[in-house]
Structure formats: structure tokens, C-alpha cells
Amino acid sequence: MAHFFSRLANPDLFMRVTRPLVPVFGLGALALLVTGTILAFFFSPPDYKQGESVRIMYVHVPAAWLALQTYAGLAIAAFVGFVWRHRLADIVARESAPIGAAFTLLALLTGSLWGKATWGVYWDWDPRLTSMLVLLFLYAGYIVLWRAISNEAQAARATALLAMLGAINLPIIKFSVDWWDSLHQKASVVREGGPSMPASMLWPLFLMALGYMLLSFWYILIRTRTALRSRRNAAAAIMPSVATLEPVSENPV
């Protein structure tokens, strides 16, 4: 297992493998989001109860899914970095946080607007809403902690602990609507008995979710690649001064 992660965490291999993936993910995300938007506005029907306000679902639900998925990926990368001390895993975790925080913020914002249009209130201290707010704080805390500790290795370990502890919140978010009485509706796509909405609503929802997912992969890849290039340049800048010291040590005065 350790050998497998060692191979995978080789920065050169990572740069080589991900180079062709960046444009694929970027263009794929763009195509899916444009198609999803067209379907959501022009080919999906209004809901029989909520009317036109259901169109908020096509940005709200994918944002909420990706907020959880990104945090799960971040926590796994942090765990790998913590246990096997792979710098690449730490960098992937660090670079995942901004887009995860953005998805969480969007889920809360669009949910609040949808809530006002359907429930009549922007906010309620409901278990689902509150646990999502906790997720936003976890992302914010994670980002701030990385910036607060100047030693990169120490920052990686401290933030990994926070990320792993924070993962407890993921099942709480997912099952909050089942465990407690909630104003928020229960799962209507991933549930026993299949989705409770027609294909004309499911298609734009899935396209938008897939578009968000590819966008998040693209973002994490491009940010990780940029971080690796910065580290490589910084290392290269130090190397010449070390090289000039070598002849001196061979011929002591």
C-alpha cells in the first residue's frame, strides 16, 4: 500500500499524468454546465408545488453534493499525507479547500434564497442547514490554519488533524434529515426506491452535478500543478549556491 502511494505521489509522474487531463476536465466542465443550464431553463418543467423556484435546485443540489464530496477528498488526501508523509497529498488537500468552501457557501446562499421563495424564511436553525454551516466553518478553519503556521510540514500535520476530525460532520450532514425533524426535505435523488422526480428534471440536475465535479477536478489539478511548479522553481533557485560549495569542501585550505 505504502509503495503504491509512493509511486502515485511522485511529483514528476503526477505532472506527466495530469497534463492531458487539465484541458479534458476544463472543457468537459464548460460543455456540461452550458448544456445543463440550457436544459434547466428551457426544457425542464416547473414543479407542481414550488413552481419556477425549483430552478434554484439545479445550482443548489450540485453545490451541496460537491461541498461534501470535496471535503471527503480533502480528508482522504490529508489522511494519506498524515500517515505516509506524502507532500503531494498535503498539497492536494490544501488546494481542494478553496473550491470546497465555495461550493459550501453557494449551497448555503442558494438554499437560503430557495428557502425564502418556498418556506418564507431565509434561515432556520435546522439540523441540515446548521451542519452545512459547520462545514463552511471547517473549510474556513482549515484554510486559516494552513496560513497561520509558517512551517509547511507542521502546517500539514495540524491541518490534517483538523480535516480528519471534521470528517465526522459528513454523515451528520447526509443523515440529518432522517435523524431529526427537519424543515429541509429528505433525499429525493439518492434514496431507496429511486429518484422521486421525472427525467426532465433529473437530466439537467445530473449534467450540472457532473459539470461541477469536473470543474472541481480541473481546479484542484491546476492549483496543485501550479504549487508543484512553484516548489520546483524554489528548489532550483537554491541548488546552484549548494553546487558552488562542493569544490571548497573537497580542497580544505
Binding site: 445550482v59 443548489h60 442558494t110 434564497l113 481546479y219
Partner: protein, 45 residues
């Protein structure tokens, strides 16, 4: 009896989509600019 809300949802829909596009688009542009800046620095060295 279920009371129906009479709020016009159009501004809520527009703000939701616009905020999503601006925030995610902004992050994407920021990531692209950082990568471009790195490439420029590498080409100068």
C-alpha cells in the same frame, strides 16, 4: 390548510445562478491567472 406563498421567485432564481457563475468563474479565472504567472516566471528564468 396549506398556505401558498405569493413571492415572485424570479429574483431569487437569477441571484442564485448569477452568484454561482460569478463565484465559480472567479475561482477558475484566479487559478488560470496564477498558472499563467508561474509560466511567465519560468520563461524569464
Amino acid at each position: 390548510m396549506i398556505q401558498t406563498l405569493t413571492i415572485d421567485p424570479t429574483p431569487f432564481i437569477l441571484i442564485s445562478w448569477l452568484a454561482s457563475a460569478l463565484l465559480l468563474g472567479g475561482l477558475a479565472v484566479h487559478a488560470l491567472l496564477a498558472a499563467r504567472r508561474r509560466t511567465d516566471e519560468e520563461s524569464r528564468q
